[in-house]
Protein backbone atom coordinates (compact mmCIF):
# COMPACT_ATOMS: atom_id res chain seq x y z
CA UNK A 1 0.00 0.00 0.00
CA UNK A 2 2.74 2.42 1.01
CA UNK A 3 4.72 1.39 -2.06
CA UNK A 4 1.80 2.20 -4.38
CA UNK A 5 1.34 5.55 -2.67
CA UNK A 6 5.05 6.34 -3.05
CA UNK A 7 4.94 5.38 -6.74
CA UNK A 8 1.89 7.60 -7.29
CA UNK A 9 3.54 10.58 -5.61
CA UNK A 10 6.73 10.04 -7.61
CA UNK A 11 4.77 9.69 -10.87
CA UNK A 12 3.21 13.12 -10.23
CA UNK A 13 6.59 14.80 -9.77
CA UNK A 14 6.93 16.13 -13.37
CA UNK A 15 3.94 18.38 -12.64
CA UNK A 16 5.68 19.86 -9.60
CA UNK A 17 9.42 19.93 -10.34
CA UNK A 18 11.42 21.79 -12.96
CA UNK A 19 13.57 20.07 -15.57
CA UNK A 20 16.78 20.30 -13.51
CA UNK A 21 15.28 18.90 -10.30
CA UNK A 22 13.57 16.18 -12.33
CA UNK A 23 16.88 15.12 -13.84
CA UNK A 24 18.46 15.05 -10.35
CA UNK A 25 15.61 12.88 -9.11
CA UNK A 26 15.99 10.54 -12.10
CA UNK A 27 19.64 9.92 -11.22
CA UNK A 28 18.73 9.54 -7.54
CA UNK A 29 16.09 6.93 -8.33
CA UNK A 30 18.51 4.91 -10.48
CA UNK A 31 21.06 4.87 -7.66
CA UNK A 32 18.24 4.12 -5.21
CA UNK A 33 17.45 0.94 -7.12
CA UNK A 34 21.11 -0.07 -7.17
CA UNK A 35 21.54 0.65 -3.43
CA UNK A 36 18.44 -1.44 -2.69
CA UNK A 37 19.89 -4.32 -4.72
CA UNK A 38 23.11 -4.08 -2.69
CA UNK A 39 21.05 -4.07 0.52
CA UNK A 40 19.62 -7.44 -0.52
CA UNK A 41 23.18 -8.79 -0.53
CA UNK A 42 24.60 -7.00 2.51
CA UNK A 43 21.60 -7.14 4.82
CA UNK A 44 19.47 -10.06 3.69
CA UNK A 45 22.10 -12.50 2.42
CA UNK A 46 24.90 -11.39 4.76
CA UNK A 47 27.26 -11.06 1.79
CA UNK A 48 29.15 -7.76 2.14
CA UNK A 49 30.05 -6.84 -1.43
CA UNK A 50 32.63 -4.15 -2.06
CA UNK A 51 32.41 -4.54 -5.82
CA UNK A 52 28.76 -3.89 -6.54
CA UNK A 53 29.59 -1.02 -8.89
CA UNK A 54 30.90 -3.66 -11.31
CA UNK A 55 27.25 -4.55 -11.99
CA UNK A 56 26.41 -0.89 -12.53
CA UNK A 57 29.26 -0.69 -15.02
CA UNK A 58 28.42 -3.95 -16.78
CA UNK A 59 24.81 -2.82 -17.21
CA UNK A 60 25.83 0.67 -18.31
CA UNK A 61 28.40 -0.55 -20.86
CA UNK A 62 25.98 -3.20 -22.18
CA UNK A 63 23.22 -0.60 -22.62
CA UNK A 64 25.60 1.96 -24.12
CA UNK A 65 27.14 -0.49 -26.59
CA UNK A 66 23.70 -1.74 -27.59
CA UNK A 67 22.58 1.84 -28.16
CA UNK A 68 25.61 2.58 -30.33
CA UNK A 69 25.69 -0.57 -32.42
CA UNK A 70 22.32 -2.33 -32.26
CA UNK A 71 19.22 -0.47 -31.24
CA UNK A 72 18.17 2.94 -29.98
CA UNK A 73 15.17 1.48 -28.21
CA UNK A 74 15.46 1.94 -24.42
CA UNK A 75 13.69 -1.39 -23.79
CA UNK A 76 16.14 -3.39 -25.92
CA UNK A 77 19.06 -1.69 -24.14
CA UNK A 78 17.55 -2.53 -20.76
CA UNK A 79 17.17 -6.14 -21.80
CA UNK A 80 20.80 -6.30 -22.91
CA UNK A 81 21.94 -4.75 -19.61
CA UNK A 82 19.97 -7.21 -17.48
CA UNK A 83 21.24 -10.15 -19.54
CA UNK A 84 24.83 -8.92 -19.17
CA UNK A 85 24.26 -8.46 -15.42
CA UNK A 86 22.99 -12.04 -15.09
CA UNK A 87 25.92 -13.48 -17.06
CA UNK A 88 28.46 -11.43 -15.08
CA UNK A 89 26.81 -12.45 -11.80
CA UNK A 90 26.88 -16.13 -12.74
CA UNK A 91 30.53 -16.05 -13.85
CA UNK A 92 31.95 -14.09 -10.91
CA UNK A 93 29.38 -15.22 -8.34
CA UNK A 94 30.07 -18.87 -9.02
CA UNK A 95 33.48 -18.35 -7.42
CA UNK A 96 32.53 -15.61 -4.96
CA UNK A 97 29.79 -17.54 -3.14
CA UNK A 98 32.26 -20.25 -2.18
CA UNK A 99 34.01 -17.71 0.08
CA UNK A 100 32.82 -16.33 3.41
CA UNK A 101 32.87 -13.04 5.26
CA UNK A 102 36.09 -11.15 4.70
CA UNK A 103 37.09 -13.36 1.79
CA UNK A 104 33.87 -12.44 0.03
CA UNK A 105 34.57 -8.78 0.71
CA UNK A 106 38.12 -9.03 -0.63
CA UNK A 107 37.07 -11.10 -3.63
CA UNK A 108 34.32 -8.70 -4.68
CA UNK A 109 36.61 -5.71 -4.21
CA UNK A 110 39.17 -7.41 -6.46
CA UNK A 111 36.54 -8.24 -9.09
CA UNK A 112 35.41 -4.61 -9.16
CA UNK A 113 38.95 -3.36 -9.65
CA UNK A 114 39.70 -6.02 -12.30
CA UNK A 115 36.53 -4.92 -14.13
CA UNK A 116 37.88 -1.34 -14.15
CA UNK A 117 41.16 -2.57 -15.63
CA UNK A 118 39.33 -4.65 -18.21
CA UNK A 119 37.21 -1.65 -19.28
CA UNK A 120 40.28 0.60 -19.43
CA UNK A 121 42.43 -1.82 -21.42
CA UNK A 122 39.82 -2.92 -23.97
CA UNK A 123 39.96 0.53 -25.57
CA UNK A 124 38.65 -0.47 -29.00
CA UNK A 125 35.32 -1.63 -27.59
CA UNK A 126 34.85 0.53 -24.49
CA UNK A 127 36.70 3.71 -25.39
CA UNK A 128 39.30 2.93 -22.69
CA UNK A 129 40.17 5.63 -20.20
CA UNK A 130 38.12 8.25 -22.06
CA UNK A 131 34.97 6.26 -21.56
CA UNK A 132 32.20 5.30 -23.97
CA UNK A 133 30.91 8.54 -25.45
CA UNK A 134 28.56 9.35 -28.29
CA UNK A 135 25.79 7.08 -27.00
CA UNK A 136 22.68 8.09 -28.95
CA UNK A 137 19.64 9.32 -27.01
CA UNK A 138 17.35 6.34 -26.60
CA UNK A 139 13.84 6.22 -28.04
CA UNK A 140 10.96 5.67 -25.63
CA UNK A 141 8.00 4.22 -27.55
CA UNK A 142 7.83 7.41 -29.63
CA UNK A 143 6.50 9.32 -26.61
CA UNK A 144 9.57 11.57 -26.68
CA UNK A 145 8.23 13.33 -29.78
CA UNK A 146 5.06 14.31 -27.95
CA UNK A 147 6.46 15.47 -24.61
CA UNK A 148 9.67 16.99 -23.19
CA UNK A 149 12.37 14.28 -23.13
CA UNK A 150 13.23 14.88 -19.44
CA UNK A 151 9.67 14.06 -18.43
CA UNK A 152 9.33 10.97 -20.61
CA UNK A 153 12.70 9.68 -19.49
CA UNK A 154 11.78 10.30 -15.84
CA UNK A 155 8.67 8.15 -16.21
CA UNK A 156 10.66 5.47 -18.01
CA UNK A 157 13.25 5.47 -15.19
CA UNK A 158 10.49 5.41 -12.58
CA UNK A 159 8.88 2.42 -14.28
CA UNK A 160 12.17 0.53 -14.39
CA UNK A 161 12.94 1.39 -10.75
CA UNK A 162 9.44 0.36 -9.64
CA UNK A 163 9.74 -2.95 -11.49
CA UNK A 164 13.18 -3.54 -9.96
CA UNK A 165 11.83 -2.82 -6.49
CA UNK A 166 8.94 -5.19 -7.10
CA UNK A 167 11.42 -7.94 -8.01
CA UNK A 168 13.57 -7.26 -4.92
CA UNK A 169 10.54 -7.14 -2.60
CA UNK A 170 9.05 -10.31 -4.10
CA UNK A 171 12.34 -12.17 -3.69
CA UNK A 172 12.69 -11.00 -0.09
CA UNK A 173 9.16 -12.08 0.85
CA UNK A 174 9.12 -15.32 -1.13
CA UNK A 175 10.60 -18.75 -0.45
CA UNK A 176 13.91 -17.78 -2.06
CA UNK A 177 14.20 -14.84 0.36
CA UNK A 178 13.56 -17.16 3.31
CA UNK A 179 16.24 -19.54 2.03
CA UNK A 180 18.67 -16.64 1.55
CA UNK A 181 18.06 -15.42 5.11
CA UNK A 182 18.52 -19.01 6.27
CA UNK A 183 21.97 -19.30 4.72
CA UNK A 184 22.87 -16.03 6.46
CA UNK A 185 21.72 -17.25 9.86
CA UNK A 186 22.81 -20.87 9.85
CA UNK A 187 24.65 -22.40 6.94
CA UNK A 188 25.01 -25.87 8.40
CA UNK A 189 21.30 -26.23 9.15
CA UNK A 190 20.32 -25.05 5.68
CA UNK A 191 22.67 -27.64 4.20
CA UNK A 192 21.13 -30.28 6.46
CA UNK A 193 17.67 -29.30 5.14
CA UNK A 194 18.95 -30.20 1.70
CA UNK A 195 19.54 -26.70 0.35
CA UNK A 196 22.65 -26.02 -1.69
CA UNK A 197 24.13 -23.09 0.22
CA UNK A 198 26.29 -21.86 -2.70
CA UNK A 199 23.28 -22.26 -4.99
CA UNK A 200 21.01 -20.11 -2.80
CA UNK A 201 23.75 -17.51 -2.47
CA UNK A 202 24.38 -17.50 -6.20
CA UNK A 203 20.66 -16.86 -6.72
CA UNK A 204 20.89 -13.86 -4.37
CA UNK A 205 23.94 -12.49 -6.20
CA UNK A 206 22.24 -12.99 -9.57
CA UNK A 207 19.03 -11.21 -8.57
CA UNK A 208 20.96 -8.31 -7.01
CA UNK A 209 23.31 -8.15 -10.00
CA UNK A 210 20.55 -8.17 -12.60
CA UNK A 211 18.61 -5.42 -10.78
CA UNK A 212 21.77 -3.36 -10.34
CA UNK A 213 22.60 -3.74 -14.04
CA UNK A 214 19.13 -2.38 -14.86
CA UNK A 215 20.01 0.69 -12.78
CA UNK A 216 23.30 0.90 -14.69
CA UNK A 217 21.38 0.96 -17.98
CA UNK A 218 19.41 3.96 -16.70
CA UNK A 219 22.66 5.75 -15.81
CA UNK A 220 24.04 5.16 -19.33
CA UNK A 221 20.81 6.29 -20.98
CA UNK A 222 20.51 9.39 -18.81
CA UNK A 223 24.12 10.58 -19.16
CA UNK A 224 24.69 9.11 -22.69
CA UNK A 225 28.19 8.37 -21.36
CA UNK A 226 29.94 5.60 -19.41
CA UNK A 227 33.45 5.69 -17.94
CA UNK A 228 35.62 3.03 -16.25
CA UNK A 229 35.27 5.00 -13.00
CA UNK A 230 31.61 3.90 -12.95
CA UNK A 231 32.83 0.39 -12.09
CA UNK A 232 35.38 1.43 -9.49
CA UNK A 233 35.75 1.22 -5.75
CA UNK A 234 34.61 4.84 -5.40
CA UNK A 235 31.13 4.05 -6.69
CA UNK A 236 30.98 0.75 -4.80
CA UNK A 237 31.74 2.66 -1.61
CA UNK A 238 29.10 5.27 -2.46
CA UNK A 239 26.51 2.50 -2.86
CA UNK A 240 27.62 1.00 0.44
CA UNK A 241 27.30 4.39 2.17
CA UNK A 242 23.72 4.54 0.91
CA UNK A 243 23.01 1.10 2.33
CA UNK A 244 24.61 1.92 5.70
CA UNK A 245 22.92 5.30 5.93
CA UNK A 246 19.53 3.92 4.94
CA UNK A 247 19.78 0.71 6.95
CA UNK A 248 20.93 -2.61 5.57
CA UNK A 249 17.78 -4.51 6.57
CA UNK A 250 15.56 -2.23 4.56
CA UNK A 251 14.92 -1.63 0.85
CA UNK A 252 13.27 1.79 1.07
CA UNK A 253 15.89 3.18 3.48
CA UNK A 254 18.87 2.78 1.12
CA UNK A 255 16.78 4.10 -1.77
CA UNK A 256 15.85 7.25 0.18
CA UNK A 257 19.48 7.69 1.24
CA UNK A 258 20.49 7.32 -2.41
CA UNK A 259 18.10 10.01 -3.61
CA UNK A 260 19.36 12.34 -0.89
CA UNK A 261 23.05 11.62 -1.45
CA UNK A 262 22.91 11.85 -5.25
CA UNK A 263 21.02 15.14 -5.02
CA UNK A 264 23.57 16.41 -2.48
CA UNK A 265 26.47 15.25 -4.66
CA UNK A 266 25.16 16.78 -7.87
CA UNK A 267 24.14 20.07 -6.24
CA UNK A 268 27.45 20.54 -4.40
CA UNK A 269 29.71 19.10 -7.13
CA UNK A 270 30.29 22.59 -8.56
CA UNK A 271 31.38 24.04 -5.24
CA UNK A 272 33.11 21.00 -3.73
CA UNK A 273 34.62 19.29 -6.75
CA UNK A 274 36.92 16.48 -5.64
CA UNK A 275 36.39 17.44 -1.99
CA UNK A 276 33.04 15.65 -2.26
CA UNK A 277 34.98 12.45 -1.56
CA UNK A 278 36.04 13.88 1.81
CA UNK A 279 32.35 14.42 2.61
CA UNK A 280 31.64 10.86 1.51
CA UNK A 281 34.40 9.48 3.75
CA UNK A 282 33.22 11.50 6.73
CA UNK A 283 29.62 10.36 6.20
CA UNK A 284 30.85 6.78 6.01
CA UNK A 285 32.73 7.03 9.32
CA UNK A 286 29.83 8.77 11.05
CA UNK A 287 27.37 6.14 9.82
CA UNK A 288 29.46 3.29 11.19
CA UNK A 289 29.81 4.97 14.58
CA UNK A 290 26.40 6.54 15.05
CA UNK A 291 23.90 4.64 12.94
CA UNK A 292 24.54 0.90 13.21
CA UNK A 293 21.11 0.18 11.74
CA UNK A 294 20.93 3.25 9.54
CA UNK A 295 18.13 5.79 9.43
CA UNK A 296 15.64 2.91 9.13
CA UNK A 297 16.91 1.76 12.55
CA UNK A 298 16.19 5.16 14.07
CA UNK A 299 12.71 5.04 12.54
CA UNK A 300 12.05 1.59 14.04
CA UNK A 301 13.37 2.67 17.44
CA UNK A 302 10.96 5.59 17.48
CA UNK A 303 8.11 3.35 16.38
CA UNK A 304 8.91 0.95 19.24
CA UNK A 305 9.12 3.77 21.79
CA UNK A 306 5.75 5.21 20.73
Amino acid sequence: MRAILAAAVLAAMPFVLGAYQLSLLTGGLAYGLMAASLALLVGHAGLPSLGHAAFLGVGAYAAGLTAKHLSESAVVQLGAAVLAGVVFALVTGWFAVRTRGFFFLMFTLAIGEIAVQAATRSGRVTGGDNGLSGIPVSTLFGLETAMPYVVVFYWWALAVVAAGFAVLAAVRRGPLGAAIAGTRENEARMAAFGYSVPGVRLAAVTVAGAVCAAGGALVAQKDTFVAPTHLGVGVSVLLLVMVLLGGRDSLAGPALAAVGLIALRDVTSGALGDKWLLVEGALFVLCVYLLPEGLAGLWRKRARAA
Binding site: F95, R98, T99, E113, I114, A115, E280, Y289, P292
Partner: protein
Protein backbone atom coordinates in the same frame (compact mmCIF):
# COMPACT_ATOMS: atom_id res chain seq x y z
CA UNK B 1 65.68 -11.93 -22.90
CA UNK B 2 63.12 -9.21 -22.39
CA UNK B 3 60.90 -11.76 -20.64
CA UNK B 4 63.72 -12.36 -18.18
CA UNK B 5 63.80 -8.61 -17.51
CA UNK B 6 60.03 -8.71 -17.00
CA UNK B 7 60.39 -11.61 -14.59
CA UNK B 8 62.97 -9.62 -12.63
CA UNK B 9 60.63 -6.60 -12.54
CA UNK B 10 58.02 -9.00 -11.26
CA UNK B 11 60.33 -10.06 -8.44
CA UNK B 12 60.82 -6.42 -7.43
CA UNK B 13 57.09 -5.74 -7.59
CA UNK B 14 56.41 -8.94 -5.65
CA UNK B 15 58.91 -7.91 -2.96
CA UNK B 16 57.11 -4.59 -2.59
CA UNK B 17 53.72 -6.31 -2.42
CA UNK B 18 55.03 -8.71 0.20
CA UNK B 19 56.11 -5.85 2.50
CA UNK B 20 52.59 -4.42 2.18
CA UNK B 21 50.63 -7.67 2.42
CA UNK B 22 52.48 -9.32 5.30
CA UNK B 23 51.27 -6.62 7.70
CA UNK B 24 47.73 -6.84 6.37
CA UNK B 25 47.58 -10.61 6.73
CA UNK B 26 49.04 -10.62 10.27
CA UNK B 27 46.72 -7.82 11.43
CA UNK B 28 43.80 -9.89 10.21
CA UNK B 29 45.09 -13.02 11.91
CA UNK B 30 45.72 -11.23 15.20
CA UNK B 31 42.95 -8.69 15.55
CA UNK B 32 40.29 -10.23 13.34
CA UNK B 33 40.21 -6.84 11.64
CA UNK B 34 40.50 -6.48 7.90
CA UNK B 35 42.43 -3.23 7.69
CA UNK B 36 41.07 -1.64 4.52
CA UNK B 37 43.14 1.45 5.33
CA UNK B 38 46.31 -0.43 4.38
CA UNK B 39 46.36 1.00 0.87
CA UNK B 40 45.86 4.52 2.22
CA UNK B 41 48.75 3.96 4.65
CA UNK B 42 50.96 2.94 1.72
CA UNK B 43 49.89 6.07 -0.12
CA UNK B 44 50.48 8.22 2.98
CA UNK B 45 54.02 6.86 3.22
CA UNK B 46 54.69 7.80 -0.38
CA UNK B 47 53.22 11.29 -0.17
CA UNK B 48 54.91 12.17 3.13
CA UNK B 49 58.31 11.05 1.82
CA UNK B 50 57.62 13.03 -1.36
CA UNK B 51 56.80 16.13 0.68
CA UNK B 52 59.82 15.64 2.99
CA UNK B 53 62.34 15.12 0.20
CA UNK B 54 60.82 17.57 -2.27
CA UNK B 55 60.72 15.19 -5.24
CA UNK B 56 64.48 15.47 -5.89
CA UNK B 57 67.21 12.85 -5.79
CA UNK B 58 68.87 12.83 -2.35
CA UNK B 59 71.70 11.00 -0.62
CA UNK B 60 71.12 7.45 0.56
CA UNK B 61 71.48 8.48 4.21
CA UNK B 62 68.86 11.22 3.98
CA UNK B 63 66.57 8.87 2.07
CA UNK B 64 66.90 6.14 4.70
CA UNK B 65 66.30 8.68 7.46
CA UNK B 66 63.11 9.84 5.77
CA UNK B 67 62.00 6.23 5.28
CA UNK B 68 62.49 5.49 8.99
CA UNK B 69 60.62 8.67 9.96
CA UNK B 70 57.75 7.70 7.66
CA UNK B 71 57.67 4.19 9.13
CA UNK B 72 57.48 5.73 12.63
CA UNK B 73 54.59 7.87 11.43
CA UNK B 74 52.91 4.73 10.14
CA UNK B 75 53.25 3.21 13.61
CA UNK B 76 51.56 6.31 15.04
CA UNK B 77 48.77 6.07 12.45
CA UNK B 78 48.38 2.43 13.45
CA UNK B 79 47.81 3.61 17.01
CA UNK B 80 45.12 6.02 15.81
CA UNK B 81 43.45 3.22 13.84
CA UNK B 82 43.48 0.89 16.85
CA UNK B 83 41.90 3.58 19.00
CA UNK B 84 39.28 4.28 16.34
CA UNK B 85 38.30 0.61 16.10
CA UNK B 86 38.03 0.17 19.87
CA UNK B 87 34.49 1.58 20.28
CA UNK B 88 33.22 -0.94 17.71
CA UNK B 89 34.17 -3.95 19.82
CA UNK B 90 31.31 -6.40 19.98
CA UNK B 91 29.76 -5.13 16.76
CA UNK B 92 30.17 -7.17 13.60
CA UNK B 93 33.51 -7.59 11.85
CA UNK B 94 32.01 -5.92 8.84
CA UNK B 95 31.55 -2.65 10.74
CA UNK B 96 35.23 -2.62 11.72
CA UNK B 97 36.34 -3.25 8.15
CA UNK B 98 33.99 -0.54 6.88
CA UNK B 99 35.28 1.93 9.46
CA UNK B 100 38.85 1.41 8.27
CA UNK B 101 37.63 1.96 4.71
CA UNK B 102 35.97 5.26 5.70
CA UNK B 103 39.11 6.41 7.50
CA UNK B 104 41.15 5.37 4.44
CA UNK B 105 39.06 7.63 2.19
CA UNK B 106 39.52 10.53 4.63
CA UNK B 107 43.30 9.99 4.80
CA UNK B 108 43.89 9.64 1.06
CA UNK B 109 41.59 12.53 0.12
CA UNK B 110 43.34 14.70 2.71
CA UNK B 111 46.72 13.89 1.15
CA UNK B 112 45.42 14.54 -2.35
CA UNK B 113 44.06 17.86 -1.10
CA UNK B 114 47.48 18.82 0.36
CA UNK B 115 49.44 17.88 -2.79
CA UNK B 116 47.23 17.45 -5.88
CA UNK B 117 45.65 14.64 -7.88
CA UNK B 118 48.34 14.60 -10.58
CA UNK B 119 51.24 12.20 -11.07
CA UNK B 120 54.30 12.55 -8.82
CA UNK B 121 57.37 10.44 -8.39
CA UNK B 122 60.72 10.45 -6.64
CA UNK B 123 63.95 9.26 -8.27
CA UNK B 124 65.94 6.57 -6.43
CA UNK B 125 68.47 7.93 -3.90
CA UNK B 126 72.07 8.61 -4.99
CA UNK B 127 74.05 5.40 -5.24
CA UNK B 128 70.97 3.37 -6.13
CA UNK B 129 70.06 5.32 -9.26
CA UNK B 130 72.53 3.54 -11.54
CA UNK B 131 72.09 0.34 -13.44
CA UNK B 132 73.62 -3.15 -13.36
CA UNK B 133 74.39 -5.68 -16.09
CA UNK B 134 74.32 -2.98 -18.72
CA UNK B 135 70.91 -1.42 -18.34
CA UNK B 136 68.89 -3.00 -15.53
CA UNK B 137 67.91 -0.38 -12.89
CA UNK B 138 69.88 -0.97 -9.70
CA UNK B 139 67.00 0.33 -7.56
CA UNK B 140 64.81 -2.66 -8.50
CA UNK B 141 67.56 -5.01 -7.35
CA UNK B 142 67.67 -3.02 -4.10
CA UNK B 143 63.89 -3.42 -3.67
CA UNK B 144 64.25 -7.19 -4.11
CA UNK B 145 67.03 -7.16 -1.51
CA UNK B 146 64.91 -5.06 0.87
CA UNK B 147 62.03 -7.52 0.42
CA UNK B 148 64.34 -10.43 1.21
CA UNK B 149 65.75 -8.69 4.30
CA UNK B 150 62.33 -7.68 5.64
CA UNK B 151 60.92 -11.12 4.86
CA UNK B 152 63.88 -12.69 6.66
CA UNK B 153 63.45 -10.46 9.70
CA UNK B 154 59.68 -11.08 9.89
CA UNK B 155 60.25 -14.83 9.53
CA UNK B 156 62.98 -14.83 12.17
CA UNK B 157 60.86 -12.87 14.66
CA UNK B 158 57.85 -15.02 13.94
CA UNK B 159 59.52 -18.42 14.14
CA UNK B 160 62.56 -17.94 16.36
CA UNK B 161 61.79 -15.40 19.08
CA UNK B 162 59.58 -15.37 22.16
CA UNK B 163 57.64 -12.38 20.78
CA UNK B 164 56.92 -14.35 17.62
CA UNK B 165 55.80 -17.37 19.60
CA UNK B 166 53.37 -15.13 21.48
CA UNK B 167 51.99 -13.81 18.19
CA UNK B 168 51.54 -17.33 16.81
CA UNK B 169 49.89 -18.43 20.03
CA UNK B 170 47.56 -15.43 19.97
CA UNK B 171 46.42 -16.38 16.44
CA UNK B 172 45.76 -19.98 17.48
CA UNK B 173 44.24 -19.62 20.93
CA UNK B 174 44.02 -16.14 22.46
CA UNK B 175 41.93 -17.42 25.37
CA UNK B 176 44.59 -19.89 26.51
CA UNK B 177 47.30 -17.28 26.08
CA UNK B 178 45.42 -14.85 28.31
CA UNK B 179 44.83 -17.59 30.86
CA UNK B 180 48.58 -18.13 31.31
CA UNK B 181 49.00 -14.47 32.08
CA UNK B 182 50.01 -12.89 28.77
CA UNK B 183 48.59 -9.49 27.95
CA UNK B 184 46.98 -10.44 24.62
CA UNK B 185 45.76 -6.90 23.97
CA UNK B 186 49.36 -5.70 24.01
CA UNK B 187 50.49 -8.44 21.60
CA UNK B 188 47.65 -7.47 19.26
CA UNK B 189 48.48 -3.78 19.44
CA UNK B 190 52.14 -4.39 18.63
CA UNK B 191 51.22 -6.40 15.53
CA UNK B 192 48.87 -3.63 14.41
CA UNK B 193 51.56 -0.98 14.91
CA UNK B 194 54.25 -3.02 13.16
CA UNK B 195 51.96 -3.83 10.23
CA UNK B 196 51.01 -0.17 9.74
CA UNK B 197 54.67 0.88 9.97
CA UNK B 198 55.55 -1.65 7.26
CA UNK B 199 52.73 -0.31 5.08
CA UNK B 200 53.98 3.29 5.14
CA UNK B 201 57.55 2.06 4.68
CA UNK B 202 56.42 0.16 1.58
CA UNK B 203 55.01 3.46 0.34
CA UNK B 204 58.51 5.01 0.44
CA UNK B 205 60.11 1.90 -1.06
CA UNK B 206 57.64 1.92 -3.94
CA UNK B 207 57.97 5.63 -4.76
CA UNK B 208 60.40 5.20 -7.69
CA UNK B 209 58.37 2.24 -9.02
CA UNK B 210 54.74 3.40 -8.82
CA UNK B 211 53.73 7.00 -9.47
CA UNK B 212 51.84 8.81 -6.74
CA UNK B 213 48.36 9.70 -7.99
CA UNK B 214 44.69 9.64 -7.09
CA UNK B 215 43.47 6.05 -6.83
CA UNK B 216 46.86 4.61 -5.89
CA UNK B 217 45.47 3.60 -2.49
CA UNK B 218 42.74 1.32 -3.80
CA UNK B 219 45.02 -0.06 -6.50
CA UNK B 220 47.67 -1.30 -4.05
CA UNK B 221 45.04 -2.34 -1.51
CA UNK B 222 43.36 -4.56 -4.09
CA UNK B 223 46.69 -6.11 -5.11
CA UNK B 224 47.54 -6.78 -1.46
CA UNK B 225 44.11 -8.33 -0.92
CA UNK B 226 44.56 -10.56 -3.98
CA UNK B 227 47.91 -11.64 -2.51
CA UNK B 228 46.10 -12.65 0.67
CA UNK B 229 43.20 -14.33 -1.13
CA UNK B 230 45.77 -16.42 -3.01
CA UNK B 231 48.07 -17.11 -0.07
CA UNK B 232 45.53 -17.48 2.69
CA UNK B 233 44.87 -15.27 5.70
CA UNK B 234 47.35 -14.94 8.55
CA UNK B 235 50.05 -16.92 6.76
CA UNK B 236 53.50 -15.46 6.13
CA UNK B 237 54.36 -18.21 3.67
CA UNK B 238 51.10 -17.46 1.87
CA UNK B 239 52.02 -13.77 1.65
CA UNK B 240 55.39 -14.67 0.09
CA UNK B 241 53.93 -17.04 -2.52
CA UNK B 242 50.95 -14.78 -3.26
CA UNK B 243 53.12 -11.68 -3.65
CA UNK B 244 55.55 -13.42 -6.01
CA UNK B 245 52.69 -14.81 -8.09
CA UNK B 246 50.85 -11.47 -8.37
CA UNK B 247 54.16 -9.75 -9.15
CA UNK B 248 54.76 -12.10 -12.09
CA UNK B 249 51.20 -11.83 -13.39
CA UNK B 250 51.43 -8.03 -13.29
CA UNK B 251 54.72 -7.92 -15.23
CA UNK B 252 55.28 -11.05 -17.34
CA UNK B 253 51.50 -11.42 -17.81
CA UNK B 254 51.12 -7.83 -18.96
CA UNK B 255 54.06 -8.23 -21.35
CA UNK B 256 52.74 -11.46 -22.88
CA UNK B 257 49.06 -10.55 -23.14
CA UNK B 258 48.40 -6.89 -22.33
CA UNK B 259 44.68 -7.15 -23.14
CA UNK B 260 44.21 -10.21 -20.94
CA UNK B 261 46.31 -9.18 -17.93
CA UNK B 262 43.28 -8.05 -15.91
CA UNK B 263 41.46 -11.34 -16.50
CA UNK B 264 44.63 -13.28 -15.73
CA UNK B 265 44.68 -11.89 -12.19
CA UNK B 266 41.06 -12.96 -11.78
CA UNK B 267 41.79 -16.38 -13.25
CA UNK B 268 44.65 -17.03 -10.82
CA UNK B 269 42.53 -15.94 -7.87
CA UNK B 270 39.54 -18.01 -9.01
CA UNK B 271 41.68 -21.09 -9.61
CA UNK B 272 43.15 -20.89 -6.10
CA UNK B 273 39.72 -20.38 -4.54
CA UNK B 274 38.37 -23.43 -6.36
CA UNK B 275 41.22 -25.50 -5.01
CA UNK B 276 40.93 -24.17 -1.44
CA UNK B 277 38.37 -21.46 -0.56
CA UNK B 278 40.66 -20.28 2.27
CA UNK B 279 43.68 -19.70 0.00
CA UNK B 280 46.80 -21.81 -0.59
CA UNK B 281 48.08 -21.81 2.99
CA UNK B 282 44.86 -20.69 4.66
CA UNK B 283 43.02 -22.54 7.35
CA UNK B 284 39.25 -22.59 7.57
CA UNK B 285 38.20 -20.11 10.25
Amino acid sequence: MSLLVNAFDGLAFGALLFVLAVGLTLIYGMLDVLNLAHGALYMAGGYIAYLLLGGASVSLGLWAGAALLVAALGVALGGVLSAAILPLRGRGHLDQALLTLGLAILLSEFLLGVVDRGFHTLPPPDGLDGSVLGSYPLYRVAVIAAGLVIGGIVYWIFERTRAGALVRAAVDDPGMLAAIGVNVARVRLSVMLAGCGLATFAGVLGLPLLNLRAGLDSEVLVLALIVIVIGGLASIRGAVVGALLVGQVQTVGVALAPELAAYLLFAVMAAVLLWNPSGMFGRAR
